[in-house]
């Protein structure tokens, strides 16, 4: 074994406490980096899944002119359901499609009023398209009946249970107030807090007739087959509908949810900042240890120089020690990080303990699961090693440049 490596290993072993502290700090940084990255990626993935599975689907079809006004949830312009739904389902690459009639409303409870979003659905078509029906406590409303499912958080806030009657006020197409007395048949408790807090689901035909828009939908939600390019599918659906003589605009979920997409992009930048801060902390820690080590070992360095060791070799010795520490840290960080991440991927972390019902901008509630992202391991490992080497270089060079005679003088 070359002399420098033997010296480096011996030095590390000789100062075991310092070695453990330094590699421990870097290993902790690597573990933290792996877990934070895994959770942030998991949060983003869950947000997208929750949005697609419970609200938007992959594509949304609106009547021309609706999209620009969609924040106000107008009833017009709307799409004719019967004519359109089969046309949409006939397009290659469309796995499922369901009509929805969406309108703003107020739910009345005692002297309180709560703003809610009324969603008219065809339960059978909807269950093949979105996943609301998998999360119903009770049952779905029946077509034509004055029945509704309401978000579980809203129900709990208002102390409403299945079997209770509630009053909803909204507007008909002509702008007149419409009041609906509906019986609650089910509570919807999904992983998407927006749905749990704001949404009330009625049968499409009940809502359509009450609002003077029978047989119409404000949106047709489309799920794409596996591996479909959404932009390409949106183009195909648009062309198919145009050929069938129906004027409609097709949007991908990213177009319809530009705010969430922007939030995810912003978060990606801030994730990078978090990672940079973790690396900076590691860097300062290692630089500090190496500097102290160099100061402590002045006489040893002087002796080595007196015995003929060159400055470059001394710097190399310090770098070797740092890289060895880094390797040890990377190995430990990988092992612990992988084990902890396996737990996060399998069991997840309940973020409601941190945020409760607080709206953090993401459509996520309850448990967030980690994800495996091999690039993070590569990045964390490389960053650990480079950080160690960089942090050691300057103090090592300073120590190596000292005058041997001066360091040995008592």
């Amino acid at each position: 074994m070359p002399l420098l490596i033997r010296l480096a290993v011996r030095n590390l072993w000789r100062n075991r406490r310092r070695t453990i502290l330094t590699f421990g700090a870097v290993a902790l940084g690597i573990v933290y980096l792996i877990l934070v990255d895994s959770l942030l990626r998991g949060l983003t993935q869950s947000s997208i899944d929750n949005l697609l599975d419970f609200e938007s689907g992959d594509l949304q079809i609106h009547a021309p002119g609706y999209f620009d006004e969609r924040e106000d949830l107008p009833l017009e312009p709307a799409l004719p359901v019967d004519r359109l739904i089969n046309e949409v389902r006939a397009v290659a690459g469309v796995r499922a499609a369901a009509p929805r009639l969406v309108a703003p409303a107020r739910l009345h409870a005692g002297w309180e009023e709560f703003p809610v979003v009324l969603v008219g659905i065809e339960p059978e078509l909807d269950s093949g398209t979105l996943r609301i029906m998998d999360y119903v406590e009770g049952r779905a409303p029946e077509n034509g009946a004055a029945e509704a499912m309401i978000g579980a958080s809203l129900a709990e806030l208002l102390e409403i249970g299945t079997g209770d009657w509630v009053v909803l006020t909204t507007r008909t197409r002509d702008g007149a107030i419409q009041a609906l007395d509906v019986r609650v048949t089910g509570l919807v408790r999904t992983p998407n807090p927006n749905v749990n807090r704001n949404h009330v689901y009625l049968p499409l035909n009940t809502l359509g007739e009450s609002l003077a828009v029978p047989g119409e939908a404000t949106v047709i939600v489309v799920r794409a087959g596996a591996g479909e390019s959404l932009k390409e599918l949106a183009r195909r659906v648009g062309e198919h509908l145009a050929a069938a003589g129906t004027a409609a605009d097709v949007y991908t979920w990213e177009q319809s949810n530009a705010e969430l997409v922007a939030l995810i992009r912003t978060e990606t930048v801030s994730d990078g900042l978090v990672i940079a801060i973790i690396l900076a902390i590691s860097l300062v820690g290692i630089a500090n240890t190496t500097l102290l080590s160099a100061l402590e070992r002045r006489r040893e360095i002087g002796t080595m120089k007196a015995l003929g060791m060159r400055e470059g070799e001394i710097v190399g010795l310090f770098l070797l020690e740092a890289v060895a520490t880094g390797l040890l840290a990377v190995g430990t960080g990988f092992a612990v990080g992988a084990a902890a991440n396996a737990y996060l991927v399998a069991v997840g972390m309940d973020i409601s303990a941190f945020f409760g019902d607080l709206d953090v901008g993401y459509p996520v509630t309850g448990v967030v699961y980690g994800v495996w992202h091999p690039q993070t391991f590569v990045l964390a490992g490389a960053a650990g090693l480079v950080t160690c080497a960089l942090a050691a270089y300057l103090p090592a060079r300073r120590a190596a440049r000292q005058d041997a005679a001066a360091t040995l003088r008592p």
Partner: protein
Amino acid sequence: MRRSGLQNRQALAWLSCLLVVLSGQALAAAGLTAEEIIARVDANSDVQSSHGYSTMVIRTGRRELTKEMEIWSSGDNALVSFHNPADRGTKYLKLGNELWMYFPDADDLVKISGHMLRQGFMGSDFSYEDTLENRRLTDLYEFSLLGVEECDESECYVLEATARPGVEVTYARRRMWIDRELFVPRREELYAAGGRLLKVSRVERIEEIDGRFIPTQVTMEDVLRQGSSTTLFVSDLELDVEIPDDLFSLRSLMR
């Protein structure tokens, strides 16, 4: 909410409706038509401009809020300025079909539109859009005379208003009890498109001012807000007064 209570209430409403219709058919021939009655109501309430003070008492459950305001109106425009300590300096300006609000603390001007219009005016049982309605009722509704009934110790014509086809209205149906002598609505019920009763207003005091009979105490009850009602008291009302033209402007709102 219990269904049985609702059904009972609806059944009672239909029964009273039937009685009113039967008595109305007998009386209609002897008196005025529905359109003539509404025309008399319009004639009594047709005021070019006004200035007065008002106190609004909002009751929500056991809570009671009092708001004091000064009101100027001219044609389709109106200005409301609050004087009670909690809202002092807050102003509303109605310019035709638009409603603006000025918050003195933030020195901010907000246009009330869209969903905000459906909320209660300063938390009261009157919605912002209730205060905005400019159009004549006869342009919005078709009226039919259901009969004559005793109401608040007066004889009242009972009129039913249903929205004219193709006309956008907030309330699809209204029922009004018009004082047979004074031609002032003493009571009004506002209904949803599906027939559900939404609001009831009662005129509790009528004063004769400059030869017109003006309601000076009105209570509005939002039936869907349990235990909630708002009473508006009007005082020192002057009719057809001179009001400077520039009073109804966004600039004067922020003054």
